[in-house]
Symmetry: D2
Subunit: 309 residues, 4 copies
Amino acid sequence: MANFKYQQSCHTDLALEMKEEWEQFEKLTGVEVSTSKYCHKKICQTRIKIVDEEGERALGKPKGNYVTLEVKNLEEDVKQGLSRLIAKNLDILTEGAENILIAGLGNRSVTPDAIGPKVLNDLLVTRHLFECDLIHESEKGMRVVSAISPGVMAQTGIETMEILKGIVDRIKPQVIIVVDALAARSSNRLNRTVQLSDTGISPGAGVGNNRQEMNENTLGVKVVALGVPTVIAVPTLISDAISGFLTLLNDEQVGHMENVLTEQEQYKLAEELVKPYFCDMFVTPKNIDEEVQIISQCIAKGMNAFIKG
Amino acid sequence: MANFKYQQSCHTDLALEMKEEWEQFEKLTGVEVSTSKYCHKKICQTRIKIVDEEGERALGKPKGNYVTLEVKNLEEDVKQGLSRLIAKNLDILTEGAENILIAGLGNRSVTPDAIGPKVLNDLLVTRHLFECDLIHESEKGMRVVSAISPGVMAQTGIETMEILKGIVDRIKPQVIIVVDALAARSSNRLNRTVQLSDTGISPGAGVGNNRQEMNENTLGVKVVALGVPTVIAVPTLISDAISGFLTLLNDEQVGHMENVLTEQEQYKLAEELVKPYFCDMFVTPKNIDEEVQIISQCIAKGMNAFIKG
Amino acid sequence: MANFKYQQSCHTDLALEMKEEWEQFEKLTGVEVSTSKYCHKKICQTRIKIVDEEGERALGKPKGNYVTLEVKNLEEDVKQGLSRLIAKNLDILTEGAENILIAGLGNRSVTPDAIGPKVLNDLLVTRHLFECDLIHESEKGMRVVSAISPGVMAQTGIETMEILKGIVDRIKPQVIIVVDALAARSSNRLNRTVQLSDTGISPGAGVGNNRQEMNENTLGVKVVALGVPTVIAVPTLISDAISGFLTLLNDEQVGHMENVLTEQEQYKLAEELVKPYFCDMFVTPKNIDEEVQIISQCIAKGMNAFIKG
Amino acid sequence: MANFKYQQSCHTDLALEMKEEWEQFEKLTGVEVSTSKYCHKKICQTRIKIVDEEGERALGKPKGNYVTLEVKNLEEDVKQGLSRLIAKNLDILTEGAENILIAGLGNRSVTPDAIGPKVLNDLLVTRHLFECDLIHESEKGMRVVSAISPGVMAQTGIETMEILKGIVDRIKPQVIIVVDALAARSSNRLNRTVQLSDTGISPGAGVGNNRQEMNENTLGVKVVALGVPTVIAVPTLISDAISGFLTLLNDEQVGHMENVLTEQEQYKLAEELVKPYFCDMFVTPKNIDEEVQIISQCIAKGMNAFIKG
């Protein structure tokens, strides 16, 4: 049976999941992939490099580097290893930049969207110390870091891109790192995965809100993105459940659904089921407040190691 | 096609939704129902009285009175009407009790489970004022109210019922009112519905956690429950989606699924789909933090009007 | 006995308290004052206009208009009256501006400094609705409002003035309204007073942090300030206590301190007493969390009435 | 000059500060004191044993053991050392008890009073795991721990002692550990000191609220108290400032105040100065929210080490 694909762009913000999805049905070209294990195999790092337009089309994302760090749990040693890998990958992706603006995107009043503001709470901000000459001689190797949590457009009335552009124009960082919550497809990746990329972001892409993109074109400086999936969109969940249901039917040869329903018919049916939930409902772990707290602190620790240089 | 019923007790904590579900397929006996509209039809009140064991079996709940207040939005006039109806129904269900212990159940660190503790934040607690003779002459008509948010067993290590029983034994209230978050089946009821009953509660019943029941048998005093649905369990959502999917198939006569799948087969398939999500994932509105805040304040206002007498 | 004045600029951010202090000892010139009562005398409004340099020197503040709204409590009718007066005064001070940026200054993680961010939580932000043409015909009289809570320099590494200037340059508002927490001298004014002015602000002036000023010179657009005192600086408290102590001694003619201690000697002594507490300790009401919540909501309501026009 | 003592019992909850105060003026009898340094002298532990009624009168506290742990900062190694010393002292004070109820006293909505509830957020609660036989063989050495944050009387209408007594009667612990916020006299002890004792507590004693005592007499089981000073009462601050002021005057021989003011006269004057602030104002560090978070986590870590055995 063909896959039950609909509104693909809505499924996930993770390049890794797009890749997995694609490979179920077709050979992937235009994309280079390599995988490494760390921390006694408790951390899996996947590097995905989209090298041409074929790769862009397959994964629905622009050319560039995507690094996914996956963990199964957040025990003490895993958190430390994850922090170290975040620091190392930021070091690579920012290519020696010394002067960095970190933007914590998202709405701090909505727990699964608060990753960005929460990471910034624990961040080592240094720019004002350099400006006022309050940095110890021994700490002069630190990066010059400023930080802002601008809020979302419903709170500010302003495109986040516009706010960042205004600040960039005044303080002239070499790189922006944006930290944001993402949507995933698989429940066991929520709050257990960190994606880093050097291609900028389209905030809200995974859950159907299209905001202005933030990348080198729009902001005038390189944009490195660090994201954590915290929710599954309801349509994704339902679509996956129905797809799984049809597969089960098929496996057990009770339904022969492939003869009964064309892909188009499936799509039409699913859309009707999904409609009432579309915009505002999300699937999250029950203890989302606690999980967001833990992963945010872990990311802040990694970013602080990167800042200290 | 027969309905896709599985693990029925897990679907919903609302007597109203149990009734709706039952009536899709069978005539309901042993239950008396009446409906009224308030506030320019913006509030719908449904009284359900389960009168015998047939009613108990149909709705999966003990004999007694269940009042459901439903609103479509929480505009200012609707909130005021809802508060008034909460006060009035508490007055009826507590049957003239003057000395009341109010228990805010749930985990205040888990937003959709925090309704109980949040309501208690805004409650007019009076017992200590009476004890210390700090009540104005003009306020002597007020009820004597004490309140406790004991937390959940994962926080306390103690059955909530045990904690309440210990307090009841010392301060001897005439009635306990327990305030708790519930699970519903329908997304448009979340944070828009209040259920009051005089039969006690089984906390966590709607989401698969079985805690010791709190009712007149276990606590020694009458237990009035006030609950608000804040989540849909993921299996409920998936089961409903698949059920809807099958209905659609059937309506369009593409599948003739009723010949293909017995109810048992459907159940088995659904269980497999549901398994990976079973325990810890919930569906909530994105702005759950804000919605829980608003409905909690509205309930507290109603309870305070009841307390003032 | 002469007053025990030291580091006068540190005492209070309220023009009204500066005026009271000055008038204890000298005639006030260069300043026009008028007082009105509202809401059955439960709200006192004082308009202070600093008209020349003599007035500037006396009150330690630039020429312009200062309106102080004082209430004794925050009962329902008082809150409504206060909201109305805030709306009316903003209307006057913004002089017909239609396009407004509202900045909530302060650190949201430090309760007495969180007035600005908290007010913004409840604000009616409209600019994006106008941009996307989502405004009802009937609501076209509303002001075009954008809003930002930039955080403090310790969080951002950037002067708040710089962040606002960057945003102003991109979205070109006609007026900025800055909302901020202030320091006062009198404990009964904390969370019970709102000061509005049209002269911009020097954030942290009342508690000894000198940040870059925000006014028409630095930002290029008119700056209206709305502030609420939430703390007393510890040196202010101690200085006032010692001053009161000396007055009492004098009144009872036990000490004849005026012959014993010159003003300079008093100053020197006080400084030594104050030193260990200087930077980081504050005096706040015990229930500061609750009080900040209430006054913030009251201000947001007033600002929303102003925004609706 | 004699000390400026007034309302001594209001000054501080720390036995250590009572001792220091007493020793300024008189020899201390009925009390045994020993001091040790840990963690490269960054932690100072003082054991005070009140052995008879003379000691009780001097320190204003009942016979028993008081251990004070003082640190200068909360750097990583200091926090670890402090946690270890908390675990060790709890082990000694609980005298081999296996079944323990931990009560987090205070009001979680009032930051400086929230130490107790915050510590409980991070506590390893085990009683329900033992009851349900969910404890690993390897973990059977753990203590059986239950926990409750009952709230304060203004929230519950019930004396905290009554709530605890009710729970004790049902679950029969061998020891209760109460965790609470305290008042201190010295600003550099706030959030930097932990006091442990085996004599129970009078909650609110340090800030003038007299609640029912919790000790072996009232609760029927031994009560170990763990407290952290988070505030200075305003009268304490003012009284200390005036006392310091008079000392300075004296040292510089400008005033000869000892001839001018009797101790009684000083007391009378101070009372008048203090009156307007008496009940509801406190002195706290500006970053109290952050400091309470850090010390609470450090205490929870120490208690968890104690629980693991």
